[in-house]
Symmetry: C2
Subunit: 406 residues, 2 copies
């Protein structure tokens, strides 16, 4: 930095769609990703959906020469899928698992099993401390009736809070990941407003890639076009965001995305497009102003909007908790009734058994099954209510703080 | 600070043992705690095991006059039980839920349901930023054969990492809570060594209270003396720890504990003794040296020791995952066999049903029950393995960093 006042950082971000047994042509694509990364020599590589640790190890071996430092974040049943490769030493890491992440019984969606998280790695380049975050938020399966919106908003809020609290001593913050939110969605506005992060796509001096920076596009052969339907030209849900915390400035000189296929190949890296940013970091004479203050007037509205959505989720969770509890009580009553009938029969109060033995047993097992299931659901939704309430509380506190500022 | 160079901070810490329906004389004790806190006028109050939100609300109403700022941390099924009351405005909060916290099927221990966490509140007094942490780690039920040691060590490690990453911009760090570890236990040494936190009891200029600062003592009428047995004089598991991060010094002028009963009363606040510290904070001319460096030579040994224990837990978790998986496969095989037999009977391959219908159905239900339970257990232990592996990885990285330092 002393000699050359500008540090250049080239960042690569990709949701790899590398689900064992499920993702098409996975091994071929992981190999292709590895080859490209080795050839291109980025400074930082932020990957999501590397669900198989074997894939990570293979990449680590292949990339050992140009990216000697790496970290895989473990969480959930399958793993967080998050990993980082770096040209510079990773000094420290931390994982924060989001408190809400869908429902375990929504097996067809499976997000719950991934233990969605945000991973932090700290690196230092030429004396500048970089806090680099990689994350993947809950997927959106139906935009019109998005049952997971409250959970995704809780995640966006926790992500913002985690970044704010952990980046206070960092000079530069970089966040890459599949946020599963469109640029104008309330979650993105909340995340950007509450952290002061800037969107590399919006700030880039030069852009090259899919129209509007889209990262899920119809030109990608793995895209199911019907899933894009309300947006036939594609959507942008993968981001590189950044900010300078102390007396530095960051500028995005160039942003690129792949355009349906990997460069020079006939297959894509993934069902998502890769996002590649070239950031220029400069030390500036006077310290940067608080980026929060410039967006504050609208920030209170954004927090209010997010809080309203979390409130909607809270009411739904309370209803589900109530239904599950009622079901458990009914099943328990049925079991008690059956126990009374069985005891009565044993004590000779009734002439013989009122039911045939088989149906009686089947009914008892059914009631027991429902009791266990409903109790489990009740506990799960109780936790959901607690976390939604907690987030709503925090947002209310944030609003008060925003309103009290001059 | 400008006029008076020393800031005095009086901190109160207590595990309240306020479990609805289970804790003896709960309401009376919560009232007593509230009365004492109002009378004594501490600056900061850190409470654990306030499981009922009603108790928190009652305390909040009662203490509104002298502690106008408070926060209750929600998590898990029951709630984290953590809350903070403060004389000074709470500027921000963050909750970190530990990734491991016992087993849901250990109903008699129940820790899993509490969503054990660490809560952070940020306050500013006379321009000094305080990061105040409150936590409660997994209980120790059997010291000789402590099955929860690896989980508690993961919690201690996550607590240390969380404090390190979130306190970089703080001037003073204060941690209060029931750590469920004796002062010489590896978890405490890890936490203190890795964060540089100092133990108020060890550093206090004046001490008044139970011998050796014990917080579980035989003089407390709620203590089950047999549970203390290897330590008939009591144990110390509740702590106030602190450090100055930047150019400040903190000194513990006085440490007190209650001694079996609340001051001037005939019943105790709780089954734990309260810990009360008076801290003196001074701005110093030259910045404080890195507290880590002074303890470093032994720190590597402590991390190694902790890593070994986590490794023991990892092997146990792998064994349990394997057993649960094998059980699930066996139950599935039995179900498939039964299905084949039933299909055979339906297709008329066998002369009549080989089993009586009732036993056949009972067996099928049993197999189904075992299949579901074993699958659930397998998933749970898979997550446990992931988190233990992740912690081991982080500890290995920390060790390398320690060894590479000159």
């Amino acid at each position: 930095m002393e000699g050359d006042p500008t540090l250049q950082l080239r960042v690569f971000d990709l949701n790899c769609w590398a689900i064992r047994y499920l993702s098409k042509r996975r091994q071929e694509r992981v190999q292709l990703i590895g080859d490209t990364l080795r050839r291109e020599g980025f400074d930082l590589v932020l990957l999501q959906e590397v669900w198989s640790e074997r894939d990570y190890s293979d990449l680590k071996v292949k990339l050992g020469g140009c990216y000697p430092f790496s970290h895989y974040f473990r969480s959930g049943v399958i793993g967080s899928g998050l990993c980082v490769f770096s040209r510079f030493p990773i000094l420290d890491t931390l994982l924060y698992q989001y408190s809400l992440n869908g429902y375990p019984y929504m097996l067809q969606h499976g997000d719950w099993f991934c233990g969605k998280s945000v991973g932090l790695v700290v690196i230092k380049i030429s004396g500048i401390v970089f806090n680099v975050y990689v994350t993947h938020l809950h997927a959106e399966y139906c935009r019109e009736k998005d049952a997971y919106l409250p959970h995704r908003l809780v995640q966006a809020w926790e992500l913002a809070q985690f970044i704010r609290h952990t980046s206070k001593a960092a000079d530069v913050v970089v966040l890459g990941g599949d946020l599963n939110m469109h640029p104008e969605d309330v979650g993105i506005r909340l995340l950007r407003g509450w952290t002061g992060l800037r969107d590399a796509f919006a700030e880039a001096t030069r852009f090259e890639g899919c129209e509007d920076g889209c990262t899920l596009v119809p030109d990608n052969c793995f895209t199911v076009n019907s899933e894009l339907l309300p947006f036939p030209l594609g959507i942008r849900i993968d981001y590189i965001l950044y900010k300078a915390v102390s007396s530095f400035t960051v500028k995005c000189e160039e942003l690129k995305t792949t355009t349906g296929t990997a460069p020079g190949m006939d297959i894509p890296f993934s069902d998502h497009e890769a996002v590649m940013a070239t950031l220029h970091i400069r030390r500036q004479e006077q310290a940067a102003g608080d980026t929060l203050s410039t967006v504050e007037p609208t920030l209170a509205d954004v927090v209010t909007e997010a809080r309203t959505e979390v409130g909607v989720g809270l009411r739904a969770a309370r209803r589900q908790r109530y239904s599950a509890g009622r079901m458990a009580v009914l099943a328990l009553l049925l079991l008690l009734l059956q126990a009374a009938a069985a005891l009565g029969a044993l004590a000779g109060l009734a002439d013989g058994q009122p039911f045939p033995k088989l149906s009686f047993c089947l009914l008892a097992f059914l009631a027991l099954g429902i009791l266990l299931l409903a109790t489990g659901l009740h506990l799960f939704h109780t936790m959901e209510v607690k976390m939604l309430q907690g987030t709503e509380d925090q947002m209310r506190m944030a609003l008060r703080a925003l309103q009290e500022r001059p």
